[in-house]
Symmetry: C2
């Protein structure tokens, strides 16, 4: 309706794309559907984005950024046992996931789409780089709150955490059983606690293993 600067229009359209895709799936996020959701006409979308892929890439980037910021929201209490710090971090993390079924599912759809379509190639790896980085920051938080380090390199641990959270999230999306998922994650949390070592005994980080594909 109103005339808006292109930049704001883009924001609005990305929001709309996110809404449609979260609600109805990535395949439903057609240019038409996004235009309708935003209340603009078809041509407007093509005026703001070169093509559909550019719109989807922008949407994916918005998700990744949002995830990164959100992951820093949950901070654990100060002094406590390692177990209880981990436990509260996991509960907060899980609550966040549980509250966003649509976006969560969308993020898996984006991953698989990215792996099939060359024009979205960067999307998946960016997602994961973001998640791995976020997991490291969470580890950092736990380290300081509980005064511990880890028996394995932090980067390795971060990848494992992302893998475990991904796996339980997927299963939860399928069977809808949040309590089982939460308990499973807590079980993993207790494992984390077992490999925590007093900060004094742990180096800032272990020696990095041989660098893998820089991609």
């Amino acid at each position: 309706m109103n005339r808006l600067p292109v930049a704001e229009r883009r924001e609005q359209l990305i929001e709309a794309a996110l809404a449609v895709a979260s609600r109805d799936g990535i395949d439903a996020a057609t240019v038409r559907a996004v235009a309708a959701e935003a209340g603009v006409s078809l041509g407007v979308v093509h005026y703001c984005f070169q093509d559909k892929d550019e719109l989807l890439r922008a949407m994916a980037h918005a998700i990744t950024s949002a995830n990164l910021e959100r992951s820093l929201g949950e901070l654990p209490e100060e002094a406590a046992t390692t177990e209880s710090v981990i436990e509260s971090v996991i509960d907060a993390l899980w609550a966040g996931i549980q509250d966003s079924r649509g976006p969560q599912l969308l993020s898996y759809e984006l991953t698989t789409s990215s792996l099939r379509h060359p024009e979205l190639n960067q999307v998946a790896i960016e997602q994961y780089r973001g998640q791995w980085a976020a997991a490291e920051q969470v580890l950092d938080l736990v380290e300081r709150a509980a005064g511990v380090g880890w028996a394995v390199p932090r980067a390795t641990l971060a990848r494992t955490i992302v893998a475990v959270v991904d796996g339980f999230s997927l299963a939860w999306l399928v069977d809808g059983d949040s309590e089982t998922a939460r308990l499973g994650l807590q079980g993993f949390g207790r494992f984390l606690a077992t490999i925590a070592v007093p900060a004094a005994l742990a180096p800032d980080d272990e020696l990095e293993p041989a660098p893998t594909t820089p991609a």
Copy 2:
């Protein structure tokens, strides 16, 4: 070309669908593409299957069945330490995954598709029920080969295993780093070894927790 009984035609078309979808993604598995892959004409597919969804459901079912049978292929050596039994099972499992990138990715695509489209609703839960059952059988194998039980209910452990394998597989699909994934899984395997207890001390299975949604 040849005139075949409907049942055989269906088998052939399911094979073709699997080939196309594994190679080019689930979205590429159109009725037309499947017909072309199988070397038959469009009408034939609609003669054998009521519609596209029925074909996809049949394909998904074929995958699940194949996975179940395959998972029993890898048997561990007889006498050995718990660690080494677990290690060899994981290596065999991972080798199988690594050799089937396309089908692996397809299985995630099927899961997300199933969660979005009501007509495929049963697909995802069947997949997971199959995987959970397979994981329990693998646990069973390890129990007998290493003469151990577990400190947590076998069903819970099975879900965790599936979640961890899923998570590492997804990350591998994204970054292509099989060695890191394998090492991550082995790390999880060492955790499994830590919660193994001598068979004499473990009941056949722990008391089941309160039954969750039977679904």
